[in-house]
Amino acid sequence: MREIVYDVFARKGRGDQLVHIGYVDAFDDETAKVYAWKTYDEENWFEMCVVERDAIIPVTNGEGHFAQLKRARDE
């Protein structure tokens, strides 16, 4: 039962910033959508997206969270 990490992004209301709010482990995109919606139910989000962590491309090659996690995975 291999699960994939997805990062979750959401926007509180129309006109707000899209922010990284968390992550879920899921089997595929469909389950990731369900888990994200059920897990991050602390707000009535206007918009929510999930993206496979592997699909996130760090632009700055520096000390950021995702850059570090990517290098750790690539090792």
Binding site: M1, D25, A72
Partner: protein
């Protein structure tokens, strides 16, 4: 690994440096964080079966819904904490499914059965208050940025759990009679249980590094005071007796019973009359785990292997 030595990192985090990922950590920092996150994750996870088995005592479909909403939150909190552990090189699969019941690191309170609705609401009133007390301190002080961010959501939801517990404690207490007696009986075993949860007093505390690495801000005794400063006035207001009072001279809450003391998990009874025991005796009791430990862990792990086998069988066919 970190470009800093352990001492440099300790100094940097005291000056406000935020750690963003494994490359910023020394091995000492990583280890201390793993211990902290494992306790946090296991506590969230084991609160779920404890509350779930007690949710059957909910007096209405509405209260069933709110009890299960709390359980859903706890499982999500556990998932988040295990995810944070994976990101620093630990295995969630092993932590959740690969350990024996006694290897989990949750507090002894979540090894106890909750036997009626009063016990469930006092548990959310007391245990979730303890959770908020600990996690608010972490949120305000931690040097680990991903944890700080994750705690925003968790804090919001814990506040809801606590409110649910306190609203019901008030409702049952105000009703008087048997309702209030049931709350009092729950308070009698859960108050000292929560006090003990905060661990060794400061003058005995072994050096853990959690303060040095700024993984938390307050000491065990300070956290115990924060918890009492909310819980004691609440109980007094509801006419519930608690074995602690405000001492104006010492400007602190003081316990009215020998601490620590022995607990009979079968009778849910604290042996105040037998006097103070050593912390070694407490650690022994914790290590022996409580009556529901295996049942709760088994309820979480139960179907994992079965379903994995079905799925593997299907994939092979």
């Amino acid at each position: 690994m970190s470009p800093f030595t352990d001492d440099e990192l300790k100094q940097k985090v005291q000056d406000g440096y935020m750690v963003e990922g494994p490359e910023d950590m020394t091995e000492g920092y990583r280890k201390a964080l793993v211990v902290q996150l494992t306790v946090q994750a296991d506590t969230e996870l084991m609160s779920a079966p404890s509350y779930w088995m007690a949710a059957r005592y909910a007096p209405s479909t509405n209260t069933q819904v709110s009890a299960h909403a709390i359980i859903q939150d706890e499982l999500a909190h556990a998932n988040i904490a295990y995810r944070l552990l994976e990101d620093i090189g630990e295995s969630k699969e092993h932590l959740v499914y690969g350990r024996q019941p006694h290897e989990f690191k949750h507090p002894y309170g979540f090894d106890q059965p909750l036997d009626n609705w009063a016990e469930l609401v006092v548990a959310t009133g007391f245990f979730d208050r303890a959770g908020i007390t600990l996690l608010t301190d972490v949120h305000e002080n931690t040097s680990y940025a991903p944890l700080k961010r994750a705690l925003v959501k968790i804090g919001m939801e814990e506040t809801f759990h606590l409110r649910h517990g306190e609203v019901w404690m008030r409702r049952l207490s105000k009703a008087g009679g048997e309702a209030k007696e049931m709350v009092q009986r729950a308070v009698d075993w859960m108050f000292p249980m929560t006090i003990e949860w905060f661990g060794l007093p400061d003058d005995m505390k072994r050096h853990s590094g959690q303060l040095d690495y700024r993984l938390k801000g307050l000491t065990n005794d300070q956290l115990r005071q924060v918890w009492m400063s909310a819980t004691v006035p609440l109980c007094e207001q509801l006419g519930l007796h608690v074995p602690a009072h405000w001492d104006a001279e010492r400007e602190a809450y003081v316990l009215d019973y020998p601490f620590p003391c022995q607990y009979d998990a079968v009778d849910k009874h604290w042996a105040f009359d037998e006097g103070e025991i050593s912390w070694d005796a407490v650690f022994e009791r914790w290590k022996g785990r409580g009556p529901m430990n295996e049942i709760y862990v088994e309820s979480v792990q139960r179907s994992r292997l079965d379903v994995a086998r079905w799925l593997d069988g299907k994939a092979a066919a």
